[in-house]
Point group: C2
Chain length 180, copies 2
Amino acid sequence: MEEEALEFARNAHASQLRKYTGESYIEHPIRVATMVKTVPHTTEMVCAAYLHDVVEDTPVSLEDIQRKFGSTVATLVDELTDEFIKENYPDLNRKSRKEREVKRQANMSQAAKTIKLADVVDNTRDIIENDPDFARRYIPEMEALTEALQGGEFKLLMRACYQVQRGKLKLAEIRKRPVH
Amino acid sequence: MEEEALEFARNAHASQLRKYTGESYIEHPIRVATMVKTVPHTTEMVCAAYLHDVVEDTPVSLEDIQRKFGSTVATLVDELTDEFIKENYPDLNRKSRKEREVKRQANMSQAAKTIKLADVVDNTRDIIENDPDFARRYIPEMEALTEALQGGEFKLLMRACYQVQRGKLKLAEIRKRPVH
């Protein structure tokens, strides 16, 4: 089933590219699934790692996932799909939406938290290295998210904390540099 | 009371020096207390941070602490004093003693966990920079300890995770270097 989930996600993301690196989008879910495999996990968790951005970013619906991969995977993908997006809440600003999302994420299952931690590791590393301007907004959001993800597998919590703290130190360093 | 705790600790550690840096021992409890002050804390926590190694490493007794600083500070210092030391358990090896200590520490109060996290940050940084050989044994111990300290203030949990993960990456790098 894991191979099927990978191929399903590859087809769904199709020609989408990662914003900064220009690599195929599927490389990100592959890294997330690979991280999930380094800690205690189930097959359903690996499938959900491959599929975690499919409902959020492609025309695939949760019903498609449920039909093809069953309700355990579908429930995980549902938990991993942002609810407080601009489209659903056009009257809330980014800060309010992110705050509500984090409150929801603090109550996710342990399995979903573990997958989300791997997502934080990969995305935070990406932003630190490729978009220091956006990092000023993004790193504090990832700090609040990581705090909410306590309860997920500790090795991935540790790696997420490492990336967030590294981002904070990098931002502090940039602020200290003399302006030319 | 905080100033008194600092001076009491300074006198108790007297001429003791930190192993690697050769600085006065008191510099370490000062750094721990300074970190505790960066997160939500009580005066008793700051006092216990200054005093955290006094019962373990000097002739001062828990009764002395209780008499001078009251039972809240004494209870914290008691929690922060290793129980499974060689002297108390001469028949257990280091690994068994550390395992039992971590089990005990997982059940400490949230306040004691927060102080201990600051202690982990400072000691791990010290070992990584000054004793890479000992780090091979020490970093895995700090990883297990930090996992047990979940529930302490998140900002210090994040900083402890950062140091431990940094140590793991540094050890992996050393192992990869060609032997000359």
